[in-house]
Assembly symmetry: C2
Homo-oligomer: 143 residues x 2
DNA sequence: ATTGAAATTGAGAATCAATCTCATCAATAA
DNA sequence: TTATTGATGAGATTGATTCTCAATTTCAAT
């Protein structure tokens, strides 16, 4: 069993939960993804490749993956929550193109530091943050 | 008629739309708010103070207020979109307490500048952005 | 191998914000 | 007046997400 899978299994077991075949199917599907995805994309890809699994099982599994740090909520748009793998991926923020839907990831250390400063100023204990900049990508500006 | 009201009326008229009594009711309710609100809060406050108005009318009016810059989407949490007045309010970002729901507003010029730099780097034309930091406020940390 | 408590699952129902439908109403222009 | 166009209310609808509950599975202890 790979490291990530162990992380997940250990999380489950230590919380009195079980590493079931269904959760392994979801795990495999998530690992096979690169980039961003939403719950339905995940569900459909599982149905296509591994046969049937209830939509509810996918929705129920997601919080566990988030709790272990394997998956992160990335952005909300088009009425859905979008996720992304976060194991083996550094934290980053997003530029979202309103024209073509393209997502550009970036990370700026200075912005991160300044956020910490802001939190200190307000005695605020930060857990996470999301910075999303909406606009138009290079390609879409020409139209 | 006040300045903001004229801005709104002009926007409507110049778009072939009408400044109806219902839209004025929504306008007044929004102006009377301070702080953040969601569509339902707005709707309920109108019902309480001004009597009946369809929920659909509130939802239909919101995009017009956003288009004129009177209202801005501020953050999404608790499954709803939250808005805030943006006339007479400077741009700012948010710290959201997961414990008590308190929202702290802040603005850091340096962060804003660095965002512009990021956009330049990617030839990205930004329209707006949202930075939301989730965590626990001073009070809630003690529990 | 058997048992039983506790967790999990599937299927569909329920929820909830947000949008849409449509018949009716209001404003304006011809 | 009549036609046109936009606006409204009430409720239906959508679509994502969550919940319900009976049936099944897991797993540790017999
Ligand atoms: Zn684009
Ligand atoms: Zn990303
Ligand atoms: Zn708090
Ligand atoms: Zn604010």
């Amino acid at each position: 069993m790979e490291k990530e899978e162990l992380v997940f299994k250990n999380y489950l077991v230590s919380h009195g939960l079980k590493y079931t075949p269904e959760r392994k199917i979801v795990f495999d599907a998530i690992i096979s993804f690169s980039g961003h995805f939403d719950a339905d994309t995940l569900y459909e890809s599982i149905r296509r490749n591994k046969g049937k699994l209830s939509r509810a099982t996918v929705y129920r599994a997601l919080p566990h993956f988030i709790a272990t740090g394997i998956v992160k909520e990335s952005l909300r748009f088009e009425g859905r929550t979008h996720y992304e793998k976060s194991l083996g991926t550094e934290h980053h923020d997003h530029l979202v193109c309103l024209g073509c839907g393209k997502i550009i990831e970036f990370k700026d250390e200075k912005i991160e530091e300044l956020q910490n400063k802001v939190c200190k100023k307000y005695s605020f204990k930060a857990l996470d943050h999301k910075l999303g900049i909406r606009g138009y990508c290079k390609t879409c500006q020409k139209k």
